[in-house]
Symmetry: C2
Subunit: 344 residues, 2 copies
DNA sequence: ATGAAAGCGCTAACAG
DNA sequence: CTGTTAGCGCTTTCAT
């Protein structure tokens, strides 16, 4: 209850070192020159008392919280951990704490923000499921100019948000082109992500573009739900099979869906890659452990986290800075599910 | 930089409502009775100004941070997300913020704590890789009695930590017994987790106990590294096969290892479950999507997070409370990798 | 180079 | 039921 009662304060340190609190603060923050001798005495007092500045007091006095907020969706799998790691490391390195909040899946209306300008200096938003208007609400509820960086999502017009997004179109294009030109596939099915999901839409565009470039027609019948879920994908592919659809390859908008597709194909005794070639997107943890190992488009997940923090801190320190969108490159990782013999 | 400058303060609200700041504070915190009329005026002023109390000031005045710290290891996969979700939800519900820190894998020495009594009211520690002595250090560095709850780990003697752990022994026992009594397996290999990992050790004990109970001898040759990793497990099982070891079942200390085992067995054209039956532990996300679906021991992961928060908050509110260890039950989930025909 | 003192925005006695 | 007034622990002018 009385969390700090038994704790040394800056006054205790000052007393012990025989200086004023101002001086202690100065050596703690290297905010002004202090004679070597005094500094040493202060340091010693700090160590002896095991003094650690209290965040609340410091934040109040500094008028900033030195804390970044991270808003995450409730759904999600292994996908998140690398991002989280990237974000935490970058934040810590820059001297920021990381406060996290998870957006309940059911509740469409955003809560009176648990995270916001009242307790963070800026916000990282994994906006996967948020609509355009929810994003805007988010921006309006905060003080004008409150720094917000979107992950995997282009900001609404004039929102002032920065963002870091993936090179989805090109990545998808590469994968599909590989299926067509190297492995001679002609009828390729697309397992899409959730409707309205930006990454999925863009991957689909890359898919269509590759077909077009190589003179293949786009068949809407061969676009089915994947929903970033193993189960949904498996069901969709089974459905496709049952309907008697013919296809010689599947491009999945994500590796989870690819995994589901694989399950369904195996269940139907269809050989991958001989009868149906398969490619995914993300290069998630599991990709190389599928059987056959999955050819997929690598998304630099941890780096995305780091870059997002970099952008956020930049706009915290320099609020005059223009919003910026970082586009992170992706590239095809060839394993065996496409028909190639090399790599694993 | 000047994060709060354009922000309404409690004084602004008070002025607008024509009351004192004390009154505003009272209606905000329901900390004393306020006449309906005044309360309404205050509420309106709050809304009009979009006032949100500043966490730092509030925390300082209250002498507590209303924040829980969560210390996570750097390694980890989908395993973490359910826990994180459980923890975040429980914390939020109880009015606490959640601050996270990730322990770098390389650095064995703990950093001057990013999380601690200077900015949290208590700590949740996922101590997977921490040694006994590191745990003690953690406790000593904090003010005596600073609430700490361990996840998946029994606290050191007299540490004063609480903990929530899994019923590993019994869970493992059940799984192995099932393999033996229902499917008549006699030579069962064990894919263990990291050496020194408590969960893994206990699962191994359950494994041995089940063998003993059913009159089967324990063969150290059949205990190999799994390391909570798909890759390591796959390699270990391949090795076992290459060495000509004979076994008719594998019990893996975790589902990732089970998945790796499956990969290796398939690669060797060994049929699961006909030739080798397989069981895992955790009932992780992927378990039901493996082919065949994995029989495994369910660990109530999200619930573990919630329970840990409950324990932590209890000792924050009542520091006289005794440290407590919650043992969470596990139970066998039967799918097909063991040889059963039902469920998926 | 150092100290005195005024806050930061809020809560919590204490009066009335 | 409401207002006045000390702080909470730290940073930061402003003097010296």
């Amino acid at each position: 209850m009385y969390a700090q009662h038994s704790h040394a304060t800056i006054a205790d340190v000052a007393a012990r070192a025989g200086v004023s609190t101002a001086t202690v603060s100065r050596v703690l923050n290297r905010t002004a020159a202090v004679s070597a001798g005094t500094a040493a005495r202060v340091q010693q007092a700090v160590t002896e008392l095991g003094f650690v500045p209290q965040a609340a007091a410091r934040n109040l006095a500094r008028r900033k919280s030195s804390t970044l907020g991270l808003l995450l969706p409730a759904v999600g799998t292994d996908f998140f951990y690398p991002i989280l790691r990237g974000i935490e490391a970058a934040a810590r390195q820059a001297g920021f704490d990381l406060l996290i909040g998870i957006q309940p899946a059911q509740r469409r209306r955003l809560e009176p923000a648990p995270l916001g300008d009242h307790n963070t200096d800026g916000l990282l938003v994994f906006a996967g499921e948020l609509t355009e208007s929810e994003l805007k609400t988010l921006g309006e509820r905060a003080r004008p100019g409150f720094p917000i960086v979107l992950l995997y999502r282009t900001p609404p017009q004039d929102s002032g948000f920065s963002a870091v997004v993936l090179e989805n179109r090109n990545g998808a294009y590469q994968a599909v082109e590989h299926l067509v030109t190297v492995h001679g596939r002609q009828k390729i099915a697309f397992l899409r992500g959730p409707l309205g999901n930006q990454d999925s839409e863009q991957r689909m565009e890359g898919f269509r573009q590759a077909l077009a470039t190589h003179g293949l027609s786009f068949d809407p019948q061969l676009v089915v739900a994947g929903n970033y879920s193993v189960a949904v994908a498996a069901q969709s592919v089974s459905g496709l099979l049952k309907d008697g659809a013919t296809f010689d390859a599947i491009f999945a908008a994500d590796d989870d869906s690819a995994s589901g597709a694989l399950t369904a194909l195996k269940a139907a005794a269809i050989h991958v890659p001989e009868q149906v070639a398969l490619a995914g997107f993300d290069d998630s943890f599991m990709a190389s452990y599928l059987d056959p190992p999955l050819t997929t488009v690598r998304a630099p997940t941890e780096q995305l986290g780091r870059e997002a923090v970099r952008l956020l801190i930049r706009s915290i320190h320099d609020r005059a800075s223009e919003p910026q969108i970082t586009l992170l490159p992706t590239h095809l990782v060839i394993r065996r599910s496409c028909g190639c013999e090399n790599g694993r």
